[in-house]
Amino acid sequence: MSAPVSQPAPAPAQEAGARTIDKVSWKTPIALGSVLVLYVALLALAPHEGSARFALSTSRDFFQIPVYVVPAMSTAWLGAGVGLLLTVAVVLTVRARRRVPLWWISVYAVFLLVGFLAWAAAGSPRDLSVVGLLSGAVVLAVPIVYGSLSGVIGERSGVINIAIEAQLLAGAFSAAVVASLTGSPWAGLLAAMVAGMLVALVLGLFAITYRVVQIIVGVVLNVLVIGLTSFFYSQVLVPNTELLNSTTRFPRLPIPFLDRIPVVGPVLFNQTILVYLMFVVVLAVWFALYRTRWGLRVRAVGEHPKAADTVGINVLATRYRAVLIAGAIAGMGGAFYTVVSINQFGREMTAGAGFIALAAMIFGKWDPIKAALAGLLFGFATNLQNVLSVVGSPVPSQFMLMLPYVVTLFAVAGLVGRSQPPAANGQAYVKE
């Protein structure tokens, strides 16, 4: 994990504003510049005249915001202009050996995004629903956020969890079966948590007790759960679809009044209970990790198990507890597929979300809130492409689908940089 130090340990951005740094890293300007070049090339090579219509309101809001109609190309070029200014500013800042404020990059991203949306939606008779874009993003992010939280807790305690995919899939499967049998999505959610914990238990048994290399256990558990769920799906669920594989879903649960605030309301306060729970769990995990004795112990065990053991913390038990809790959380994410998204289980329906969750966890640098934000970003990127396909954009759909992954690649390379996992991550502990 160590290589030449191209960037010193990240310090809080605000107070570091005036501080000079020793080694100059050109990663950020290169990343910003490359994205800008791509963006400008897109505008120049495929100009898209017309006007773009952004709808910000839904019919239920307290007051209506009229549909914004903007000329597409000028908005897009405005985005490019602001992007260029900020890139130049970043280059100058880096040359002066100063830290780049984070909000510059955020502004850069927002302007390029708005410009891109305007360009993509130009000339379309339909309104581009900003609310639909954002609320869909939140929904699509649900399994990723739960999964990444599971990863954060596990890895903070020193257990690498590649098996997030397995936990999601096992959760989805059990939720489908139990919710169909009982007719209650709550029972399904509970079953999903138990299933996630079961996978976590196997992970713990092999990784903690038998000290098998943790990546092996994770990878193998993924294959095992894919095999088991697909096997039972075709042998048991398909012949008994009515009985075992048709769930009652969680209804949408609008929060009175709050859901009628324009933009924010429908995005945040008109969702299913699993989404509200997600926000609660993110905050709870943050609080538990950083503000409770349990969290301190988990982090201690993940950073320096020997020291933790010396002061009397039971390393193995702490790791088991952390991994099991993480499993339950990932299971909740799995329940999303069968009691929120659609009402039945399908073979390998998680389709790699567990790996995206893993990426979100690393992207978020093993911090619950940052990981959740990274998860939301992935959800947004996925939904962006859904929305654009409705509006109809001139770019081949495959490139739209590819976009989130390309942007992530640039972001990880240019902005995030070297992520530092917990020091004892992946090591089995042997008491001496």
Partner: protein, 455 residues
């Protein structure tokens, strides 16, 4: 992160590699390394079973506490679990079990038939079909196994090599798809070249494309610190959509006059010829996979480049201090790993799917390769056997599905359980009540190897 511990627990190489390494290492240049190796050797020696005087008992102990017994036990356990799944979901068994207490022999008979049917179908599909008319027809199953094993071995080597350098290459899928793009494009797009030249060009194009694709992840890791797990996953998706764009666009890779996202067939002059004649599916790709095994073995055990990979994998900081260029190692190991995974894609396109391919050409091999590499203990020879085993399961699994109606996913369950059990020898020994080898030293070794992994 490397296969270090794995090496300890799953693969006990026949000769002592420590001795070889000790001889090779220059004591003047690397005194620390020599010391470490000597300590390791001392530990290894301490672990050998103590002599009790009774020769037969010693021999017995040595056999039952060896890694072969563990492997056998792991396979037994996994097959047992698979049998339970088959029996539990078998209709005839369920029917007979409803009157189990009246006539238990019916249930037992049904259980026997379900398991017997399943495993005999597996054997017929993977090794030798004894129901065929002649030996030549019966052995076709085995050549199918070899054919399935070809890409698994090649891709498994790519993953294993990256593992040894401390990199987790989950990008097998993307690398295979890019190899398919390169090899396919030359394979059906270029015309007029004679046979071996065209084939060679297509292979080079495919492997080069895959190598560069993996190299992106390596370069990002080396120069920006982007975690290879993220970048290889992202590159998988990018490659997938890139290929799907090429396949859907007339004039790029879509077969002319067709609306399907499929390529035209590969030109005759670019196909890998069949190895044993037209009646068997195995082609020269298998020989290439064997050559790749030999190359990776040579690279890791005999070449200084491979030594630097292993050093970086064990401890990048120490490797840097020893004067190894860690950045270049990271990039170059990903280039070679990508080329190896690319070989898997190339053999698929030019050998197996010569009638043209769609976007599912990787057929999950990129991910299977991770399991193959892990089962093989990240050792080239281990990967060879793991690839053969998984190839056999794949061939047998489809025969089982066709003959007995058992979903092929059961194979995934059995495969993953085998890897899981093999990775945890103490568990297998405990289940079969085999003696644990010298407990005290074993724990000591474990802790030392974890330390090495992290330092």
């Amino acid at each position: 992160m490397s296969g270090q511990e794995n090496e300890d627990s799953t693969q006990q190489p026949p000769s002592n590699p420590l001795e070889e390494e000790l001889k090779r290492v220059d004591a003047e240049a690397e005194p620390g390394l020599v010391e470490e190796l000597e300590q390791e050797r001392a530990r290894e020696e301490a672990e050998t079973v103590e002599v009790t005087g009774d020769r037969w008992r010693d021999a017995f102990r040595q056999i039952v506490s060896g890694s072969w017994t563990v492997a056998l036990g792991a396979i037994l356990l996994a097959v047992l679990a698979g049998s339970i799944l088959i029996v539990a979901t078998d209709e005839a068994v369920q029917e007979a079990a409803s009157y189990f207490f009246a006539r238990p022999q019916d249930t037992l008979k049904a259980v026997g038939e379900a398991i017997g049917g399943a495993y005999s179908a597996l054997f017929r599909g993977a090794v030798y079909n004894y129901q065929a008319d002649s030996f030549a027809a019966g052995i076709r199953s085995f050549t199918q196994t070899l054919n399935n094993a070809t890409p698994l071995i090649a891709a498994g080597l790519g993953v294993a090599l990256a593992f040894r350098a401390g990199l987790f290459n989950i990008g097998g899928q993307g690398q295979m798809l890019m190899a398919a793009v390169g090899a396919g494009w030359v394979g059906f797009g270029v015309t007029g070249l004679p046979f071996p030249l065209h084939l060679l060009l297509a292979m080079v194009a495919g492997m080069l494309a895959a190598a560069l694709w993996a190299g992106i992840a390596g370069a990002l890791k080396a120069f920006t610190g982007a975690h290879e797990v993220i970048s290889t996953i992202m590159l998988n998706w990018i490659a997938f959509y890139l290929l799907s764009f090429f396949l859907a666009t007339p004039g790029l890779m879509q077969a002319p006059g067709s609306a399907n996202p499929r390529t035209p067939p590969i030109a005759e002059s670019a196909q890998l010829p069949p190895l044993l004649g037209d009646r068997y599916p195995v082609h020269w790709g298998f020989v290439l996979a064997l050559l790749a095994v030999a190359y990776v073995w040579w690279l890791l055990n005999r070449a200084s480049l491979g030594f630097s990979y292993r050093a970086v994998g064990e401890n990048p900081r120490a490797a840097r201090v020893a004067g190894i260029d860690v950045e270049w190692s990271t990039v170059s190991v990903m280039l070679i790993a990508g080329a190896l995974v690319g070989l898997a894609g190339v053999t698929q396109v030019l050998g197996t799917a010569t009638t043209g391919f769609g976007e599912g050409i990787d057929s999950g091999i990129g991910f299977d390769a991770i399991t193959v590499a892990l089962l093989g203990g990240s050792q080239p020879v281990g990967v060879l056997f793991a690839g053969l085993l998984f190839g056999a399961f794949k061939a047998g699994g489809s025969a089982m599905q066709a003959a007995e109606g058992i979903p092929i996913e059961i194979v995934l369950v059995v495969q993953s359980l085998i890897v899981l059990f093999i990775a945890a020898p103490p568990l297998v020994r405990a289940i079969f009540r085999l003696p644990q080898p010298a407990r005290r030293t074993a724990t000591k070794r474990k802790s030392s190897s974890t330390k090495e992994m992290t330092a």
